[in-house]
C-alpha cells in the first residue's frame, strides 16, 4: 500500500532531483557518450539532435508494431548506426565541413523523424520494463523516484566500458591515435578513416538509444517537441566533460537533475521567476565552464585533430 497523505514537503525536492537525475540524465548520457566516442576519434558530429529524434520515433514505432520495447531500442540503435555512418562517410570526403554537415543532419534527421511520426495514431507504445528499487519504502514518491529504466544502468555501464576501452585496449588506443594525431597514426599503419567511421557510426547508435528512452519511458509519448534541443546540449556537455566518459556521466546526471529543479520548486510553492529557474541548468553549466576553464588548460583532454581536417 502506498502512503502519501501529506506529501514530502521539502524532502520532495531531494527526491525529485534524485529521480529527475536518474530519468532526465539518460538522453544526455547516451548522446554525450556517443559524441565522446565520435570526438575522441577526431571528428565532431553536431547532428546528434536529428539522430536522437530518429531514435525516438523508431523506438516508438517498432515497439508499437511488434509489441516489444526492446526491439524498439535495437531498431533505434540500428537507425542511429546508419545515420552515424552517413555522417561519417560525408565528413570523410575532402572539403566537407563537419559543422555544416552536422547541422544539415539535424534538419534532415528531425524532418524525417517528424515525417514518420505523423503516422502514429497510437498514443502510447509498449514501454520499457522498469527496475523497481524502491519497493521497500511505503512512500509513493520514493517508490516512483526509484523506478529506474534499465537504460540508466546500461548507460552507466557504457560509460565505464568506454573509459576502459580508451585507457586499456588497443582498440581504444587506435581511436585516440586517430583523434590526437592522424598523421602519426597513419604512419603506424592504423586505418584512420576506418576507425573514425566505426566510432562515428557507433556514436550515432548510442545517441539513438538515448532517444529511445524518451519515447519508451520518460515522458513515454511521441511528440514533435519531445527533445527540445537535448541532442545539441549533450554535444556541449562533452566539451564540458573534457572528453572523459565518466565525466560525461556526471555531467548528464547534473543536467538531468537540474531539469527537475524548476518544477519541483513550484510544486512546493516557490513560484517566482520560474523562467529563470527553468534556465538554471544552462546557467549552471556556463558558470562552471567559466570558472574552470583557462586558456592554457582548456585543451587538456581535447583530441588534437578535433577541428582540423
Amino acid at each position: 500500500m502506498q502512503l502519501q497523505p501529506e506529501g514530502l514537503g521539502a524532502w520532495g525536492i531531494a527526491v525529485a532531483l534524485a529521480g529527475g537525475a536518474m530519468r532526465g540524465s539518460i538522453p544526455y548520457m547516451f548522446v554525450s557518450l556517443g559524441e565522446c566516442l565520435t570526438e575522441k576519434s577526431g571528428k565532431i558530429n553536431l547532428g546528434m539532435e536529428g539522430v536522437l529524434l530518429m531514435g525516438a520515433v523508431t523506438a516508438f514505432g517498432v515497439s508499437d508494431l511488434t509489441g516489444s520495447p526492446w526491439l524498439g531500442v535495437l531498431a533505434a540503435a540500428a537507425v542511429g548506426l546508419v545515420l552515424g555512418a552517413i555522417h561519417a562517410w560525408l565528413t570523410q570526403q575532402p572539403a566537407v565541413n563537419d559543422v555544416a554537415a552536422g547541422i544539415a543532419m539535424i534538419i534532415f534527421g528531425s524532418g524525417l523523424a517528424f515525417f514518420f511520426g505523423k503516422r502514429f495514431v497510437a498514443p502510447m507504445a509498449p514501454q520499457l520494463p522498469l527496475v523497481a528499487l524502491g519497493e521497500w519504502s511505503r512512500v509513493g514518491a520514493i517508490q516512483s523516484a526509484l523506478r529506474i529504466s534499465p537504460l540508466f544502468f546500461i548507460g552507466i555501464a557504457v560509460a565505464f566500458l568506454l573509459n576502459w576501452v580508451f585507457t586499456r585496449t588497443s582498440c581504444g588506443l587506435k581511436v585516440r591515435a586517430a583523434g590526437d594525431d592522424p598523421q602519426a597514426a597513419r604512419a603506424l599503419g592504423i586505418d584512420v578513416n576506418g576507425v573514425r567511421f566505426i566510432a562515428i557510426a557507433m556514436g550515432g547508435a548510442l545517441a539513438a538509444v538515448g532517444g529511445a528512452h524518451l519515447t519508451l519511458y520518460f515522458p513515454g509519448i511521441w511528440s514533435e517537441g519531445i527533445s527540445g534541443g537535448q541532442g545539441l546540449m549533450a554535444v556541449a556537455l562533452v566539451i564540458f566533460a573534457r572528453w572523459s566518459p565518466r565525466r560525461c556521466l556526471a555531467a548528464a546526471l547534473l543536467f538531468g537533475g537540474a531539469q527537475a529543479l524548476g518544477p519541483s520548486l513550484q510544486s512546493l510553492g516557490i513560484t517566482g521567476y520560474y523562467y529563470l529557474f527553468n534556465a538554471s541548468p544552462y546557467l549552471l553549466t556556463l558558470a562552471v565552464m567559466v570558472a574552470t576553464c583557462t586558456p592554457s588548460r582548456r585543451l587538456a583532454g581535447m583530441p588534437g585533430a578535433l577541428g582540423k581536417k
Binding site: L90, Q93, A95, G111, F115, G229, A279, M289, C293, P295
Partner: protein, 353 residues
C-alpha cells in the same frame, strides 16, 4: 576551382538532391514531377511567389552574416538565436522609450540598440573563448537558452502590455514608428538591411585591412600573433559585428513584422542562419544566394501540404537532402577535368625548375 565549376557543381548537387527527394515522394505515392512544379511555382514562379521568398529570406541574410563574419576570423559562432532575441529586446525597449521622437530618430535608435545588444551578446561568448578558453560553441548554445528565458521573463513581466491578455507581448510601437514596405509589395525593408549588410560585409572582408587581418587570424593564429596583430581584439570585434547583424534581425522582427516584442522573437532564424553561412562557405555573396534558396524552399512548404497532402515535415526532409548534397558537392571541385574549362591557377612551369 574553375569558373564553370562554381556554377555547375552546386547546380548538379541540387539536381541530384531533387532527384533523391523525387524518389522519396514517389515512394509515398505522390507524383514527383507535380511536386517539383509546385515547389517552383510557390517559390520562384511568379512575382507573387518571389515576394514570399524574399520575405522569408530577409532574416536569413542577417543571421547568416552572424556566423559568416566571425568564421573568417576562425571562430565558429552558433549563438545567433540569442543575439536575435536580445537585439529584439533592445529594439523594443528603446523604441518604446523614443515614441515621442520623430520616426526616423526612433528607428535609428532602435537599430543602434539592437546592433549593440546583439553585438555584445556574441562578443561576450567570443571573448570567453579567446580569453578564458570556454568553447564558443558551448557558450553560444547556453547563451541562446538564457536569452530565451530572459525574453520570456521580461515579456511576461516588466515589459508586458496588460491588454495583450492571452498572447503576452510588450506594448506596441505606433504605426508610424515601424519599418515600411517596398511600395506595392508586401516585402518589408528588413530585406534592405540584409542586402546592405551583405554588401558591407563583403567590402569589409575583401577590401579593407581589417578584413585582411581577420583572414590572417582565421588562417593561422600563430602567424597573426607573430606579425603583431592584436588577435584578441580582432576576433572580438568580428564577433561583435556578426552579433550586431543578428541583433538587427531582431529589430526587424520587432519593427517590421510584429510591431512589438513577443515570444515569436524566438523564431529559429538564428539556427537556419548558421546553416546558410556554412553552405555559403562563409562568403557574403554566398549568403545572399543561399538565403534566397532557403527562402524559396520555405515558401513552397505550404503548397506541398495543401496541394499534395504531404505533411509539414516534408519540406524539412527536402531541405536536409539538398543541404547534404550541396555539402557533399564541395568535394567534387577539381575532381573532373572539363575539356573546355580553363583553370584559373597557372600551373607552375615545370621547365622553370
Amino acid at each position: 576551382m574553375t569558373r564553370a565549376e562554381t556554377v555547375i557543381v552546386p547546380l548538379g548537387a541540387m539536381l541530384a538532391g531533387m532527384i533523391v527527394f523525387g524518389a522519396f515522394c514517389a515512394a509515398l505515392g505522390v507524383n514527383p514531377l507535380l511536386v517539383y512544379a509546385s515547389i517552383w511555382k510557390a517559390g520562384f514562379g511568379s512575382w507573387y511567389s518571389w515576394q514570399n521568398t524574399l520575405v522569408r529570406a530577409s532574416p536569413l541574410l542577417l543571421c547568416g552574416l552572424c556566423t559568416a563574419i566571425p568564421a573568417g576570423a576562425g571562430i565558429i559562432v552558433i549563438g545567433n538565436e540569442g543575439a536575435v532575441v536580445v537585439g529584439g529586446l533592445g529594439a523594443i525597449a528603446s523604441g518604446l522609450a523614443t515614441l515621442s521622437l520623430p520616426p526616423f530618430l526612433s528607428l535609428t535608435t532602435m537599430f543602434l540598440s539592437a546592433a549593440v545588444c546583439g553585438g555584445l551578446w556574441i562578443a561576450f561568448s567570443v571573448a570567453l573563448q579567446h580569453y578564458r578558453g570556454v568553447s564558443a560553441v558551448i557558450s553560444g548554445l547556453l547563451l541562446n537558452y538564457l536569452a530565451i528565458a530572459l525574453m520570456n521573463q521580461l515579456i511576461e513581466g516588466p515589459l508586458r502590455d496588460p491588454s495583450s491578455l492571452d498572447n503576452p507581448a510588450s506594448y506596441p510601437l505606433t504605426p508610424d514608428h515601424r519599418l515600411s514596405y517596398f511600395s506595392g509589395t508586401h516585402v518589408h525593408h528588413g530585406l534592405t538591411f540584409g542586402l546592405v549588410a551583405c554588401v558591407l560585409a563583403w567590402f569589409l572582408v575583401e577590401r579593407t585591412t581589417f578584413g585582411f587581418a581577420l583572414k590572417i587570424c582565421g588562417g593561422n593564429v600563430r602567424a597573426a600573433r607573430l606579425s603583431g596583430l592584436p588577435v584578441g581584439r580582432l576576433v572580438v570585434i568580428a564577433g561583435f559585428l556578426g552579433g550586431a547583424c543578428a541583433g538587427v534581425a531582431g529589430m526587424v522582427e520587432v519593427a517590421a513584422v510584429h510591431g512589438r516584442a513577443n515570444e515569436s522573437l524566438n523564431a529559429g532564424y538564428g539556427y537556419v542562419g548558421i546553416l546558410v553561412a556554412f553552405l555559403a562557405r562563409q562568403s557574403a555573396f554566398g549568403v545572399v544566394l543561399i538565403s534566397l534558396l532557403v527562402g524559396g524552399l520555405l515558401a513552397s512548404g505550404g503548397m506541398l501540404q495543401r496541394a499534395h497532402g504531404l505533411p509539414d515535415a516534408t519540406i524539412a526532409v527536402l531541405q536536409g537532402i539538398l543541404f547534404l548534397f550541396i555539402l557533399l558537392s564541395d568535394t567534387v571541385y577539381g575532381r573532373f577535368k572539363l575539356p573546355w574549362a580553363q583553370s584559373h591557377e597557372a600551373k607552375p612551369d615545370a621547365a622553370a625548375a
